[in-house]
């Protein structure tokens, strides 16, 4: 059971959270302008990396807020948690020393 650092509530057990999939997939402001291929890429294609992975969580049985995290998907170690809308902290990119 992971221990996840909610930006508002601090460290909380994973059962209070709901995973929200890959982060930084902003919904295009003008979906109508996208080709079917571009729209399919937004909907379905995912990096699914083995290593640092920017993902979304929601502290659903807690403060209810969504936030982002970078977790190494090989060791399940969290490198950072940061508010929704914020940029991915440097030093947590794929290939950065985990």
């Amino acid at each position: 059971m992971l221990l996840i650092r909610c930006p508002h509530c601090g460290d909380r057990p994973e059962v209070e959270f709901r995973h929200g999939g890959e982060a930084h997939l902003a919904r295009p402001p003008e979906p109508a302008a996208l080709s079917d291929a571009e729209w399919a890429a937004y909907l379905h294609q995912r990096r699914n990396p083995r290593g640092p992975h920017a993902e979304r969580w929601r502290h659903i049985h807690g403060c209810g807020r969504f936030f982002n995290a970078v977790r190494d998907t090989l060791t399940d170690r969290f490198l950072a948690t940061y508010p929704t809308g914020a940029a991915r902290p440097d030093g947590t990119q794929q290939g950065d020393p985990a």
Binding site: C9, G10, R12, E16, H61, G62, C63, G64, R65
Partner: protein, 176 residues
């Protein structure tokens, strides 16, 4: 079942708390002080804290979300008071008096009963007086609030989940 059932075991008491007026208040944190004026007590801005006074309490549940507990009469008086306090500033006040019920669990070692289903560290150091949070008890969501220094807990749970939560707490208490 909920009326006034009281269970006592090993110096710990589990009882249903009487009905009260409840509101879900949501607004931008910056506008929260306006609510304090209508409420008659300071809305807590620090995470996971509650403020109480004059028979009322305000529990911080999220950065823009509070649970207000008040005397029955407040169901009529508070909404207009809030309207005035906020005036043109956007906010959301929704009465939820009927949505949920409350239990009291008190007595030395009461946190051991909660530990049967709640994954949080409920020691004094980690969950001191005035702390509150939404969390889980087994498969049911609850709001847990520790008003004061004594080992006494206030538990809010949605009405349809109350029988399950009560039965689970009861079995945990009797097996302590």
């Amino acid at each position: 079942m909920h009326e006034n059932s009281v269970i006592r075991h090993a110096g710990i008491t589990l009882r249903a708390l009487p009905g009260m007026a409840r509101f879900a208040l949501r607004c931008a944190p910056a506008d929260a002080p306006r609510a304090s004026q209508a409420l008659g007590l300071d809305l807590p801005l620090a995470a996971l804290t509650a403020s109480a006074g004059a028979g009322r309490a305000a529990l911080w549940l999220g950065p823009d979300e509070w649970l207000i507990l008040a005397e029955d009469g407040a169901a009529e008086t508070l909404p207009p008071a809030m309207e005035d306090a906020f005036a043109a500033t956007p906010f959301s006040l929704v009465e939820v008096s009927g949505r949920q019920l409350a239990y009291g669990l008190s007595g030395p070692g009461a946190e051991e009963v909660l530990a049967e289903g709640c994954p949080l560290d409920l020691s004094d150091a980690a969950f001191g007086p005035g702390t509150c949070t939404r969390t889980l008890f087994g498969k049911v969501e609850m709001v847990l609030w520790r008003p004061g220094p004594e080992p006494a807990w206030h538990i809010e749970v949605w009405r349809s989940f109350a029988p399950h939560l009560h039965a689970h707490l009861r079995e945990a208490l009797l097996d302590l």
